[in-house]
């Protein structure tokens, strides 16, 4: 005879279960720390529907003080219930040979306050046209309920189709589908910190399923400083001198600096579209390019001297030699040999999203530190080996004449980007021009990704217009100055904002916090956009417009964002102080190795941050325009203040 009631306790939670014939009820659920009942009223914990069957009685078994087991023998379903710290864990297993539907009505009765809660779920992350914002949402998003002071209930689901896990599907028929002989899991977490912490729980949950050792390799860490890659078509004048037939890497890199602020890496591309005209394999091309392998090695070395990384492509589809019965050797050995011969930094996996392990091993042996970047989105097991990939998800089929990127690009947020910040994504839509290309550049900035500059699509030239190039240059410059935040391990996508149609992502690091913004409205927005918890002694800088971003006493951050525009704010410790009466800028504390950069109008100059106060009068070229004073260490921006022309002239009087 099994009990009909059972109480479970953990350090933080308590609950009481009751079996009433076929139904399992949650009669109580308590936040023990606060003595707060989390349940507005008793509710069924879990309900089942199997086609054409009576569920039969439920049998409750106590396992431990914090664990219970419920079986529906007729339905052949088991449910394990456990309390662990501040979490309620439900693990349901179906032993059926047909499908089962299940739902959890108690979720609808969960309350953190007296008032009916507002839940976030997959349906909450929609843009102005009702389309899902999260792309590559391969895991169910959490269901999240937050109290104003930050107390939060987060429900993580596992085992159901990602997009199916909505609040509506979780609490009522027809419910969530369980495949034959499969299971699903629901975990209810009680915690502080609102959506960012809820997202952190998802991140932790997902990451625990991956082996991220490749991402911790010091010899691959350089990949995380890569922001702009260039797709370098070797038959085009970007790198080829059409007169001499020789490559000109310095001219190519100079152009990149002038147009885009510089490339961080480039991918040479010359095998396709030539390959197949005769028997030469992809490997033989590298002997026949101008200068051969030695020439390419020189190119790679010269680029590295200038801080630019060198990528070679691998084409898995080059199988003709095998088909014609003259095997060209094992690809992983050929590739490793090529990478060593030309001293490549990276291998681009053309058309691929996965790679067999012998490639990683062969490269590690031949030339350690060679990174992979795949054209297709690396996922699953491949994601553990391929540590960067292209984000060309909004790439439509060119042949269909239907390749508008702006439809898809913004404010689309890649879920993987925020779960695995160490995997660098490079945004590219090779055919996007005009407004579409602007959206693609914005997409990279808003989600904190890198970009691929690709102007020569196998002979089809789609150059960047000056405004497109300038936008990318600005985006790259800002990210270079905030790499610490860009590579922050725990970013949060899609914070709740204070204006409709304004989206924000947060990238918090120990030394600074970065927020990126997108305004999907056609009109500009002004005023409070985000509520933040300001840190004492820090201030906010609008790095998009190079000015202070005001934060009021309630933490309302005010900003101006153009219609369909992007922006960014960085919160920094105050290190630069302007004393208007003395007309001086001083450092709050000495910072060895740092420089102070001064900008006025179009002029810019630097001085060492040696601790001596700087007289503003002597910094100025003219008295007219405001002064922008920036503190940098290397490329990283540590502080920035603006001295209006008016204040300085007051001081001078």
């Amino acid at each position: 005879m099994s009990p009909t009631e059972h109480s479970l306790n953990s350090t933080d939670l308590a609950c009481r279960l009751a079996v009433r014939r076929d139904a399992l009820w949650l009669d109580a659920f308590i936040d023990r720390e606060r003595g707060w009942p989390l349940l507005a009223a008793p509710a069924p914990l879990c309900q089942l529907a199997a086609p054409g069957e009576d569920r039969g009685p439920a049998i409750l078994e106590s396992v431990a003080a914090n664990e219970a087991h419920v079986r529906w023998p007729d339905t052949r379903v088991d449910l394990h219930i456990g309390l662990e710290g501040a979490s309620l864990q439900l693990r349901l297993t179906s032993h059926r040979s047909d499908a089962l539907q299940v739902w959890f009505p108690f979720l609808d009765a969960l309350r953190l306050t007296e008032t009916p809660p507002h839940w976030l779920d997959e349906r909450s992350f929609r843009d102005g046209r009702g389309r899902p914002i999260f792309r590559h949402a391969d895991w169910p998003l959490p269901l999240v309920q937050s109290a104003p002071e930050g107390r939060t209930l987060t429900v993580l689901g596992q085992g159901m189709a990602a997009r199916d896990f909505t609040l509506a599907a979780a609490i009522q028929p027809p419910g969530l589908a369980v495949a034959p002989a499969a299971g699903l899991q629901i975990a209810v977490h009680l915690h502080d910190g609102g959506w960012p912490m809820a997202f952190a729980l998802l991140r932790e949950h997902v990451r625990s399923q991956f082996d991220l050792a490749q991402y911790q390799r010091p010899d691959l860490a350089w990949l995380r400083e890569q922001l702009v890659h260039h797709f370098t078509f070797l038959y085009g004048r970007e790198i080829l001198n059409l007169e001499s037939g020789q490559f000109e890497v310095d001219r190519f890199l100079d152009d990149g600096e002038r147009l885009f602020g510089g490339y961080d890496g480039f991918l040479i591309w010359g095998v396709y579209p030539r390959i197949g005209v005769d028997e030469r394999t992809q490997w033989e091309f590298y002997d026949d390019f101008p200068g051969g392998r030695a020439g390419l090695r020189q190119m790679a070395r010269r680029a590295r001297e200038r801080g630019v990384r060198f990528f070679i492509p691998y084409k898995p589809w080059d199988r003709s030699a095998d088909v014609h019965g003259r095997p060209a050797g094992l690809d992983h050995e050929r590739l490793a040999r090529l990478a060593a011969d030309v001293e490549a930094d990276g291998v681009f996996l053309d058309t691929m999203s996965a790679i067999s392990p012998e490639f990683r091993a062969a490269l590690d042996q031949a030339r350690p530190g060679v990174a992979f970047c795949s054209e297709g989105r690396a996922k699953g097991a491949a994601f553990q080996v391929i540590t960067s990939s292209w984000d060309q998800s909004p790439n439509r089929d060119f042949a269909q004449g239907n390749w508008s990127a702006s439809e898809e690009a913004m404010p689309g947020v890649d879920l993987w980007r925020f779960l695995f910040p160490e995997h660098r994504l490079f945004v590219i839509n090779r055919h996007a021009v005009g407004d579409d290309r602007i959206r693609i550049i914005q997409r990279g900035f808003f989600s904190g990704m890198g970009w691929v500059v690709w102007q020569d699509i196998f002979g089809l030239v789609l150059t960047y217009a000056p405004d497109e190039a300038a936008l990318l240059k600005k985006c790259r410059t800002i990210f270079r100055e905030h790499l610490e935040a860009l590579n922050a391990p725990a970013p949060t996508p899609l914070l709740a904002t204070l204006q409709p149609g304004v989206y924000a992502n947060e990238f918090p690091a120990p030394g600074k916090r970065l927020w990126t913004f997108y305004n999907e409205n056609d009109h500009a927005v002004h005023g409070p956009v985000l509520r933040i918890a300001p840190r004492p002694g820090w201030h906010c800088v609008d790095v998009w417009r190079a000015r202070e971003a005001p934060v009021d006493r309630d933490g309302h951050l005010a900003l101006e964002i153009d219609g369909r525009g992007i922006s960014a704010v960085v919160e920094l410790p105050r290190r630069l102080r302007f004393d208007p009466r003395a007309g001086q800028v001083a450092l709050t504390e000495p910072l060895p190795g740092a420089t102070i950069q001064v900008r006025q109008a179009e002029r810019e100059w630097s001085v060492a941050a040696d601790g001596a106060p700087l007289a503003v009068q002597r910094l100025r070229a003219t008295g007219e325009a405001p002064l922008l004073v920036r503190l940098l260490k290397g490329d990283e921006l540590l502080d920035q203040i603006v001295i209006p022309a008016q204040e300085e002239s007051d001081a001078a009087r």
Partner: protein
């Protein structure tokens, strides 16, 4: 005739010609872009009955001592000495520049795109030199290597020009540029057909109206095992009408 190269020439008469060529745009969709159709009036010219052979090219080298400025892969198949077995095969591993040098020596020039197609197709719009349907027994297509230029007597155009499709691609002396690239066109297809991927250059013999857009890099890469050439001679322009070669 300044130099007596051994290749026999064929008279291609003039006539009204509805020119229409296609090439494959090599991005995912494989879109065919049409060149033309354009109505032009052809004037007669002479064209080599066969491609220039290895033996022909040896005569040129012996007469001129020609050495290309960029030697890589020049006559790569002659590395172990002149390949006697290939004497009557079309010469390959020659760049457009090498082919031009040969033509200049022979008092000829390389054909333009429209000349080659007119010589191969004649006035009736056929797809292959011999007619409308492909016939694998009439040409060297999808095999392991080149064949003598006269190995397929049935590979003959209405004007008696031979071995136009298959065996080797033929250089066309039309170099285009968009300021970003230089390219020319290749004609006729070759013996080689890459297999295993749709991303390769189209292989085997190609129809007479097909030209392959061939991006040039430098002679070392541009010389191929599958590209040869033949020459033409004319008194003045061969095309009348609104047509302008690029």
């Amino acid at each position: 005739m300044p130099h007596a190269d051994a290749s026999e020439m064929v008279w291609v008469p003039g006539g009204p010609y509805l020119f229409h060529a296609t090439h494959r745009f090599r991005e995912g969709g494989f879109i065919l872009y049409d060149e033309g159709p354009r109505q032009v009036e052809m004037r007669g010219f002479w064209i080599d009955r066969y491609e220039v052979t290895n033996a022909d090219f040896r005569r040129f080298l012996e007469a001129t001592g020609y050495r290309p400025a960029e030697p890589r892969n020049f006559l790569r198949h002659w590395r172990d000495g002149f390949p006697e077995a290939l004497a009557q095969h079309p010469v390959t591993w020659v760049s457009l520049e090498d082919a031009r040098a040969y033509a200049a020596w022979a008092g000829k020039r390389l054909p333009t795109d429209i000349e080659w197609q007119w010589a191969a197709q004649g006035p009736d719009g056929r797809r292959w030199p011999w007619g409308m349907e492909f016939d694998a027994t009439r040409c060297n297509s999808d095999t392991a290597g080149t064949t003598p230029v006269d190995a397929f007597p049935g590979n003959v155009s209405p004007f008696g020009v031979c071995d136009l499709v298959g065996n080797v691609w033929e250089w066309i002396d039309v170099v285009c540029t968009d300021g970003w690239h230089r390219w020319c066109f290749l004609r006729g297809g070759s013996y080689y057909r890459a297999k295993g991927s749709m991303w390769y250059v189209e292989g085997g013999a190609r129809p007479v109206h097909h030209h392959h857009k061939f991006l040039l890099m430098y002679p070392g890469l541009d010389r191929c095992a599958t590209i040869g050439f033949r020459c033409v001679r004319s008194d003045g322009p061969t095309v009348q009408g609104t047509w302008h070669e690029q």
